[in-house]
Structure formats: C-alpha cells, structure tokens
C-alpha cells in the first residue's frame, strides 16, 4: 500500500487546525470539550437506555432549540479559568475593601433603623434567590451541548455564589449592628412567607425544575436573571442610595459588573440561536410563557422598596429592553 498518508504534527489540535486563524488560549482550552455527543444513541459509555443516557438524549440533544453546531459558540469575553480568578480576585479585593472601609467608618450605625428593617426583609433573604441562580446555572451548564456554553454558565454559577457570599457577609455585619432586627435568623421565613418574595420564589422554583436545556437557558438567561438583576440589584441599590446606604449601592454596582458579563455571552448565544429558522418563534413563545411570572415577581418585590415609586415599572421595562436589544 503506497497511498498511506503518515499524519504529521500540526500547529494546534487537529480539530482547530483547519481554520486559518491562530487559536487563542481560550479556544485551545475551551472548545469542543464535551464528549457526550459522540454517539447519539448513548451519550455515556454505558447501557444506552440507562437513566442518565435517556436524560441527556431527551433534555440536551432533543430540545426544540436547534443549531447545527453549538460548538461554534464563543464567549465574547473569552474567559478562561485563569483569567476568571485574576478578574474576580481583583473584584473581591475591591468589595472587601469597601466592607473594611465602611466598617471602620461605622457605616451601619448611621443607618436609619427603619431602613435596617427593610434590609432584613428585602435584602438579607436574597441569599436564597442568589443561591437559586447558582443552582440553575449549574444545571444549565451541565446539560449544555457545547463546552463554551457550559463554561459561561459555570462561571455564572460561581458569580452567583459570590453574590450569595456578599449577602451572607453583610447579613452578619448587620446582625451585629442591629441585634434585634432578626438578621441571620428570619431570612428563611421572609423567603418562604413574605409576599414580597413569593413571586421570585415561584419563578425560581419553576425555573429550577425546567429540564429541557433550550427552555431552561432561555428562561434563566433571558427572563429570570434580568428580573433578579434589575429588581434585586439595580432597584434595590437605587433605593439603598436614597436611604443613605451607600455601601449597598456600591455593592450592587459591583455585582452588576458580573451581570453585564453574563449578558454579553447571552447576547452572543441569542444571536447564534437566531441563525436557525424557527428558533425566534420558539424563544418568543418560551419568553411569553415565563415573562408574566417574572413581571409579577418584580411587581411584588419592587412595590415594597422604600422610596422607589417607579421601581417596578423601571425594572420591568429594563427586562424588556434587554430582550428587545437582542431581537426578542
């Protein structure tokens, strides 16, 4: 046999070698990493009919949200693990610097006790909500059909833990400043019983039990997260500033930097999804189904924010603007 071609070394992985552009560090370490798309009958190397194989066949590969090559997705920020920590260590140094400074200046002692009461009811319980975002991102990540999408969701999961951690930290500080306001004790009760949270609770409980990857990512990234970020970060932050709580305003600003990054990859994802005929209508239908829940959540929550008369309308409009900006 004289026609045997001996394979020669190439400049990069063979799956990237055909392209003209030199691959970036991001592409070398992030693309095409899942191996569960090798065999349509059996994502995992076990009995094709076993539970988890059926789960992935149904919820990942048979979703109605179609694209010929999800692996072509690229995070516009090209975040890799190494740069994530660089970036977030810097951000955490900033935030903990704020905590330190404001604590030294006895910021909490200057807060109006009535505002402290509002924080106990409207801020501290948010750790449950942020944790729900953490869980939802973990799910969407593990069922995403491309590693580049998975990674965006896992970094988003870690960012949600970051928000939760800030909230827990501030809850403890506020407990020290206002020992009789129930900080560190009453959050679960507020989250489970107070009407201001029930909209968000219903929204995330339902989002967390949406198993189809396509619907889950649309619900989380285009409905749930925008609603949470516009109401519980932006509008809460504005209300905080109005009530002399500069620290919370600065904190939510810092967290919104993460949210902006999440929105950039979401925009790239939506643009890619819209390349396939039928996805527009499908995504619009999912949004139409989820948005009323989110609107009710925003209404209930923002309606209770002190000194924030237009908060609900502003937050709801902002979620619409985000989607409209993406062609949805």
């Amino acid at each position: 046999m004289s026609d045997i071609q001996i394979l020669k070394p190439q400049k990069t992985w063979s799956h990237l070698a055909a392209r003209r552009r030199k691959p970036s560090e991001y592409e070398i370490v992030s693309t095409n990493l899942h191996y569960n798309d090798r065999d349509a009958a059996s994502p995992y190397e076990l009995d094709p009919g076993m539970f988890m194989n059926e789960w992935y066949k149904k919820h990942t590969f048979d979703t109605a949200l179609k694209h010929a090559d999800w692996n072509a997705f690229r995070d516009p920020d090209e975040v890799v693990y190494r740069t994530y920590n660089l970036m977030q260590d810097g951000q955490e140094t900033y935030v903990f610097g704020l905590f330190n400074q404001f604590n030294e200046r006895e910021h909490d002692k200057a807060l109006d006790p009535r505002w402290a009461g509002s924080l106990g009811r409207l801020y501290a319980p948010a750790r449950f909500l942020f944790h729900a975002l953490q869980m939802a991102s973990a799910y969407v990540g593990q069922v995403s059909p491309a590693s580049t999408l998975t990674n965006c969701n896992y970094f988003q999961m870690a960012d949600s833990l970051r928000w939760l951690s800030h909230t827990a930290y501030r809850t403890r500080e506020l407990a020290l400043a206002f020992p009789d306001q129930g900080f560190g004790r009453d959050e679960r009760r507020y989250w489970e019983q107070d009407p201001v949270w029930q909209g968000f609770r219903e929204l995330v409980e339902k989002a967390l039990t949406t198993w189809d990857w396509g619907e889950a990512i649309v619900a989380l990234s285009l409905v749930v997260k925008p609603a949470v970020e516009e109401a519980v970060l932006r509008q809460l932050g504005a209300s905080a500033r109005h009530n002399g709580d500069t620290l919370l305003g600065l904190l939510t600003d810092a967290q919104l930097i993460d949210a902006d990054r999440h929105r950039r990859w979401t925009a790239a994802f939506v643009a890619m999804a819209l390349e396939t005929t039928g996805n527009l209508e499908l995504m619009m239908a999912w949004i139409a189904c989820w948005a009323p829940l989110a609107d009710r959540a925003i209404e209930a929550y923002c309606g209770a924010l002190p000194d924030a008369p237009g908060a609900a309308d502003a937050a709801r409009a902002a979620t619409r603007d985000i989607r409209r900006g993406l062609g949805l």
Binding site: T12, W13, I28, V29, D47, Y81, A158, L161, T171
Partner: protein, 501 residues
C-alpha cells in the same frame, strides 16, 4: 482591619435550604438525581464539610496557584525538557494527558450535579468550587501539552483521545461515566470525590510527580502536584456525606458505592499508571514501584481514612492485595504487544537491569511475565517482527473494558469470569468486575465492549486496519516501541557473548 472572620458568616452562606412550595420537594430534587436514599432536606442540613473555603478565599488562592504553575511553565519553556526527555517519559506524558485532561473537564459537570441536586447546602457550595477546580484541571492539562503538539503528532491525543473509540479510552470513559457522569449527586460525592479523589488521584498526581521530579520534568511535576492541592480540598465533599448516610442507616449502600468505585479505579490505574511507573519511567528515575506507591497512597492512607469514617474494608480486599503485584504487569504486556492500538509509544522496559529491578520489586517476575517477554525478546532479536505484533483481539472485560488477563508462565492463573444474563454471555476479568455488573445490570447490560462491536460487524474490515480505523488512530499516531527496539542490542550482545564462550 475591620473585616469579619470566615467563620462569622460562613454558616449563613450555607443556610440556603428552603421548603419548596410551587413545586414538590421530589420535583426540586428528583430522587434519581439527588440520591434515592429517602432522606429529607433536614437530614442533609446536618452535612458539615470539614475543609471550608469561601468564595473570596477561593479566587485569591487559586489565582496564586495558577501564577505559580504558569510561571514555572514559562520559565522552563526554553529548556527543551520535552525534546530531550527519554522517549519513555514522553510516553508517560502522552498517556497521562490523553486519558486525563478531558476527563477532568467532564468532572466539572459531575461537580455541577452535586451543586444542583444535593440536598446538603454545604455540599452545594463546595461543589461549586469543585466544579471550578475541574475546569482548571481540564484547561491547564490542555494548555500545557498544547505547546508540544507541533513537535509530535501523538500529542494531538491530549485533546483527541476522548472523541475516539480507542480501546483504552472506551475503558476510561466507561469508568468515569459510571462513577461520575451518570450517578446521582450523593453517589457522585461518594464515588468520585471520596473514593477516587481521596484515593487514586494521589497516585497519578503525586506519585507520578515524584517520578517527574526525578526525571527533571519540573513543569509537569509542578503542574500535577498543584492540581492535587485542589483535589485535596474538594475530595472532602464525600466524607461528610458518608457520615450522614451512616447516621441514617444507609451504611450498606454507601459501602457498596465505595467498593464499586474503588475497584473500577484500581482497574483503570492498573493499565494507565502501573505501566508508566514500572516500565516507562527510566529506571534511574523511578522513585518507588507502582506497588509501593499503591501501598503508600491506597492501603496506608486511603483505606485508613475509610475505616476512620466507619466503613469496612471492601469485601474483595484479599483479591485486591493479590492483584496489586500482578494485574499491571499484564496490562503493560497487553498494551505493549498491541502497541499499534495506543497513541503513545510503550517502553518495553525489560532490559536485564530493568528485569533485575522488577524481580526485586515483584519476586517471581522472571518466572511469570519474564517467560512471555523471553519469547517477545527472541522475536525482536531475530528480526521476526511478524510474531512481535498481534493478529487477533484480546478478549476484554464487559465491566472494566480492559483485557481479561492473569499471571502467565510458571504461575499461570488466567481465568474468565463469565455470566449469562438475559440470553447474552458476558465475560469479566475478575470476580469483582462480575459482582459490580450484578449490582445493577441495567446500567451495563446493553453496552457493547470493543470485542462485542467487532463480533457485531461494527468494525470493518475485520482486521487490524479496520480496528485502527475504528479507533480513529492513524499512521503517524499509532504506537510502536518507544526506543525503536534499541534494547534488543543488549540481548544481541549477550547472545554473542554466550556463543563466544
């Protein structure tokens, strides 16, 4: 400084369980994904992770770790360690990266399953960090070998291996898919983090680092030992889950999962780590034998920890101890004899000096594996290469997917462990492999081993060329002797000496 200590606010960050109202608890935490142990949310709130870490601590420490690993890599890039390395050592790196890198990335999704579906809030936060760790391990172990990809086509397999039906990769996927990709959150914590990561990853990431340091490959030693610092944290996810299960009368279920995972890990390491430690690593750089590393990490450290948790030694403990001196010699002989089917160049590792070392570490080696190697050596020395390559397939185990083998020569004990199940005849490499199958046949029964696929006509043409094509291993990639049979010269000289006498 006016910042709180970690423990002032740590508990609040893991007080995140709530009672769902708009969906049922079993919908929020489906038993098949959360673990079918019948324990409610409140039972899992007792879970207390012993190795605590917060988000700000995490990003700081991890940034520092990466700064270390990447700067060592950058500093040593010009020292041409790869180019100058012994071919046996290059094979160590190729086997390692191919079998490990994307498996670690996949583990991120196993961690994400614990994050989403565990009912223990502490576990959910630790698994969030564990998931991030595994992204690190996947990405670093792709970035580091990538610098060698232009020098050696086989290095492409650091990425490509997981996409192929190469037989060792079928085995690797079968194991990892079984213990981490297809299990519920609690089982993942027991099988992946407790059984695999507190046990076996130490073998690959520290034992091998010791050899790498001896071999002068400081980039690799530094990389893998740095990876293990993450493992040592998130591997602690499983321990407290075991304690919760034991406290709630679920010891048998916990023990079974440990026993299944430990055995599968052992089989995979017998083919991956055993040969590279005892045959590929140049003799002068071997810190300890594979068996000695196993004794240090698995018997003395892991099994001791397991008994401290309140679990028992696996029921197959005696079989395991016996196999520690045997199985990997067969795995090495198999991957050497069938070397065109692997993506690295196996080092034979059987010069007289190496055989003396093997005989010292494994008394009786010459009378057993040595007997088979004598025949292989004669064929190579005589130039009878047709006989030094295979013409059929080894029969592989329907559980571990590795050749069914045993001790040859004077200690011949090779045995099949068959099982007829629903009209199909399955073959297993040991009593334990068969036992694993019998625990949950529905997980495994419909899977086809590479031999099953061959017999089903899925591999065409039905010869070595067809098999190589099926395994996606091309000319320029498939393995051959690491040293191009240079070792045969030693035996030629010995023959000449004997004739002269």
């Amino acid at each position: 400084m006016a910042v709180l200590n970690r423990m002032d606010w740590y508990d609040l960050a893991r007080s995140t369980n709530w009672t769902p109202k708009y969906v049922a608890e079993d919908e929020l935490f489906p038993p098949k994904l959360s673990g079918e142990f019948g324990l409610p949310l409140t039972a899992w709130e007792e879970y207390d992770e012993p190795y605590k870490q917060t988000y700000p601590e995490y990003v700081k420490v991890q940034r520092e770790k990466d700064a270390g690993a990447y700067s060592v890599k950058a500093a040593l890039e010009r020292s041409r360690i790869f180019e100058n390395a012994d071919p046996g050592w290059k094979s160590v790196m190729k086997a390692h990266y191919g079998a490990i890198a994307r498996g670690e990335y996949a583990a991120a999704s196993a961690e994400a399953r614990m994050m989403r579906f565990s009912k223990a809030p502490g576990m959910r936060n630790m698994a969030t960090l564990g998931c991030m760790d595994e992204i690190r391990h996947g990405q670093m172990q792709l970035y580091f070998p990538h610098e060698h990809v232009a020098k050696d086509r086989q290095m492409d397999w650091a990425f490509k291996a997981y996409d192929t039906n190469e037989w060792a990769m079928i085995a690797a996927r079968h194991f990892f898919d079984d213990i981490m990709m297809t299990r519920d959150a609690i089982s993942v914590s027991i099988m992946l983090t407790f059984s695999f990561e507190t046990g076996f990853t130490n073998m690959q990431f520290l034992g091998l680092a010791a050899d790498a340091a001896e071999a002068g490959d400081h980039t690799f030693a530094n990389l893998i030992s740095s990876i293990q610092t993450d493992e040592s944290r998130h591997a602690q996810i499983g321990g407290p889950a075991l304690k919760v299960l034991i406290a709630n009368g679920q010891k048998q279920e916990a023990q079974k999962r440990v026993d299944i995972a430990l055995w599968g890990a052992w089989k995979l390491f017998s083919v991956l780590t055993g040969p590279i430690m005892d045959y590929y690593t140049p003799l002068e750089h071997r810190k300890q034998s594979f068996k000695e590393f196993m004794e240090e990490w698995i018997v003395a450290q892991f099994e001791r920890a397991l008994t401290d948790m309140g679990l028992d030694l696996p029921w197959y403990w005696d079989i395991f101890l016996k196999d520690l001196s045997e199985t990997h010699h067969g795995m090495h002989m198999g991957s050497y004899y069938w070397r065109p089917t692997v993506w690295w160049n196996p080092s034979a590792g059987i010069t007289p000096a190496e055989r003396d070392w093997l005989e010292e570490k494994y008394p009786g080696w010459n009378d057993t594996w040595g007997q088979c190697w004598d025949v292989i050596i004669d064929n190579v020395v005589d130039g009878n290469m047709a006989k030094a390559y295979p013409e059929t397939l080894p029969y592989v185990c329907n559980m571990c997917q590795l050749p069914i083998l045993g001790t040859p020569g004077k200690g011949w004990n090779v045995k099949d462990y068959p099982l007829e199940y629903q009209g199909r005849l399955y073959h297993f490499g040991s009593e334990v492999d068969r036992w694993v199958f019998e625990q949950e046949p529905e997980r495994y029964a419909g899977h086809l081993s590479i031999v099953d696929r061959f017999l089903a006509g899925m591999i065409q043409p039905m010869n070595l060329e067809g098999a190589l094509a099926y395994m996606n291993i091309g000319p320029g990639e498939c393995g051959d002797d690491a040293h191009n049979y240079a070792w045969a010269e030693v035996y030629r000289a010995l023959r000449a000496e004997r004739k002269a006498v």
